[in-house]
């Protein structure tokens, strides 16, 4: 066994040992007490999701934190507005909100899937269409990654295009002190709608739960980077390949990001190619100020978590 293989084996053992410890000493007894032992395996997976989230937040906080100090686009004397975004990030990445949404949506999604089966329909998977993918998990993962990203692009277009959805999604855009923490600043209903659409996509194209977690983890890392308050672009070629902080900042720009016929630009989450293909790319070489135009005229989107959620509902009802 060479040194690299040995190191990988040790790292895997350490990771697996930590997951086992957390699960057997904390999660499993809790699941048992709650009478939910039919959910042992999902709880075991959720333990790993928590670990991935905790590790991801720690790494991003250090790396992207340094990046923001090194090449900041904006410097604020008072960073109070950033605090609520940290809360959103922890609630989402450590699995609190995703877990709640999972339990909310699961009966709906599985019910739909089960209903399809009763009517003799088994949704085909990508592997059914391309059997070569069966033997190549990495190729399969990349294929699903591209497919899910394509769906996310159109979901994002819908978030900006439909008034009811924008009423909710505007919360995400209302951050005028955008940092890498901003990615998870979203209205709870907005999260539910997006997650429902993604879960139905997973049912219809056959994304396995394990793959789904990996896709989400990778997507989140890129999304965090995309929101970073730093002058970073990926160069002529790189800007075409992966969404950069510069590319995504334009999406958040006052007067550019969410106006006009398509209600904005640069909707892509991972791969900017969708914006180039569907005419929504804006490649201006700039790092504009972020926010929503009506904030300049005094519209309030709230500072604290509950206020922001409440105002989102009021906008949805046309009363704010």
């Amino acid at each position: 066994m060479d040194a690299l293989t040995l190191l990988a084996a040790k790292a895997t053992a350490l990771w697996a040992g930590t997951q086992d410890f957390l699960f057997e000493s904390v999660v499993q007894p809790l699941v048992f007490r709650l009478g939910l032992t039919a959910w042992l395996e999902p709880a075991f997976d959720a333990t790993e999701v928590f670990m991935v989230g905790a590790l991801e937040v720690a790494v991003l906080a250090v790396v992207l934190g340094l990046l923001e100090r090194w090449r900041p686009v904006e410097v604020w004397a008072d960073r109070r507005a950033v605090r609520v975004d940290v809360l959103y990030t922890l609630l989402v990445r450590l699995g609190v909100l995703p877990l709640a949404i999972f339990f909310l949506l699961l009966p709906l999604v599985d019910g739909f899937n089960g209903w399809l089966r009763l009517h003799g329909l088994i949704p085909p998977t990508l592997e059914d269409a391309f059997p070569a993918l069966f033997a190549h998990p990495l190729a399969s993962f990349l294929a699903y990654l591209v497919l899910v990203d394509f769906v996310q692009y159109w979901l994002h277009r819908a978030q900006h295009r439909f008034e009811f959805w924008w009423a909710l999604h505007a919360l995400h855009h209302s951050q005028r002190e955008m940092t890498f923490w901003t990615d998870d600043r979203n209205h709870l209903l907005d999260m539910v709608l997006v997650d429902l659409a993604l879960a139905l996509t997973a049912v219809l194209v056959g994304v396995a739960p394990g793959q789904f977690v990996a896709i989400v983890a990778l997507t989140r890392a890129v999304e965090s980077l995309a929101h970073v308050n730093a002058r970073v672009s990926f160069g002529r070629l790189g800007e075409w390949l992966v969404v950069s902080p510069r590319f995504h900042r334009v999406h958040h720009a006052i007067g550019l990001g969410h106006e006009g016929r398509t209600r904005g630009h640069n909707f892509a989450v991972l791969f900017p190619v969708w914006d180039h293909l569907f005419g929504t790319a804006n490649t201006v070489r700039d790092f504009p100020a972020t926010g929503i135009r009506d904030q300049l005229h005094g519209r309030d989107y709230g500072e604290g978590f509950w206020r922001q959620q409440w105002l989102g509902l009021k906008r949805l009802a046309g009363r704010a």
Binding site: A16, T37, D110, L118, D128
Partner: protein, 323 residues
């Protein structure tokens, strides 16, 4: 000193030989890594994972075909069955269009192939010949394990979240009756005399024994928290039961309906297999991503072999009788 050293070495070798089970030359242990969609091919002599082959999404359970020639892997999220060489684990063929197969089983007369769809609350009954769907039944919540009556008339399926098990008439493909159980029934096992059904109560710490003809609970026996799954010792009398949360395995006498002993196996023991010579118990220990081998004479863990993520079903050809 040299002689002493040699004596110790010989003693150690003999001790190891005592614990060693007999596997056929070239035979492999096949393990399903449900969390990463692969099969681990393990060399039982060298005690190492030789390779990992992608097999499909969420492979949980596997069983050998009645003729013993192929090993069927049920890929729940791929909606297919993959057939392996039972000796080497090599992929032979794939049968698509099997909806969410979790637990699978053939009726004793080999006419029916039953698949429990754990996620979607369905039980599917196929004509075993060609896997043609005969009926898809909407059931209670989380259908789990399957057992059959000896005459192949009835299939019994536990419903984990509905806290019951159901009896399905295979000829008419109708649910005949259901029986309430303790919390989260999982493993269900027919005794060799065809009289009793043993049910592992995973949400509690015991085994429930039913006289299924009288539809009556006969007995509850404490085994360990998370009583889950069964495998025959192969002597026609005893059956092992894994207690997932207690990290133990119990040996149950099917004649006296008593627990004879319970021993410790850390890491969340789940599916089990016994070697043909009855000397070793191999079990997947899901929470630690390992295969654990227990010496059945001393009841001690002999060794653990790292495999993939969330290992579930396992198989090897030189196994003890499955009843």
């Amino acid at each position: 000193m040299k002689i002493l050293g040699k004596t110790i070495l010989l003693g150690l070798l003999l001790a190891a030989a005592g614990a060693r089970a007999n596997f056929a030359p070239g035979e492999k242990v096949i393990v399903l890594n449900s969390g990463e969609g692969s099969v681990s091919i393990v060399d039982p002599v060298a005690r190492v994972e030789e390779k990992r082959i992608p097999v499909g999404k969420e492979p949980h359970h596997l069983m050998v075909t009645p003729d013993g020639k192929e090993l069927i892997v049920a890929n729940a999220a791929s909606n297919d069955l993959v057939f392996l060489d039972p000796k080497t684990g090599e992929i032979l063929r794939r049968v698509p269009g099997i909806s969410d197969p979790y637990q699978i089983g053939y009726s004793p007369d080999r006419k029916w192939f039953v698949s429990a769809s754990n996620r979607l609350d369905r039980v599917d009954i196929y004509h075993a010949d060609g896997f043609r769907l005969a009926a898809r039944l909407a059931t209670g919540r989380v259908p789990s394990h399957i057992a059959f009556s000896a005459d192949s008339r009835l299939a019994f399926v536990t419903l984990q979240e509905s806290n019951e098990f159901i009896a399905i008439d295979l000829a008419t493909q109708k649910v005949l009756w259901s029986m309430p159980t303790g919390r989260q029934p999982a493993g269900i096992w027919m005794t060799p005399d065809d009289r009793h059904l043993l049910v592992g109560i995973t949400g509690e710490s015991h085994l429930e024994i039913y006289d299924w003809r009288a539809r009556k609970l006969v007995k509850r026996i404490l085994t360990g928290t998370g009583a889950h799954n069964f495998v025959a010792r192969g002597d026609g009398r005893h059956v092992f039961l894994s207690n997932r949360m207690a990290n133990t395995i119990s040996l149950v006498d099917q004649q006296t309906l008593e627990v004879k002993e319970t021993f410790s196996v850390p890491g969340g023991p789940d599916c089990m297999f016994i070697t043909a010579d009855g000397r070793q118990l191999w079990t997947t220990t899901r929470w630690i991503r390992k295969l654990t081998v227990v010496d059945l004479e001393t009841k001690k863990v002999l060794y653990q072999i790292p495999v993939g993520r969330s290992p579930h079903g396992l198989y090897f050809q030189s196994h003890a009788p499955l009843q």
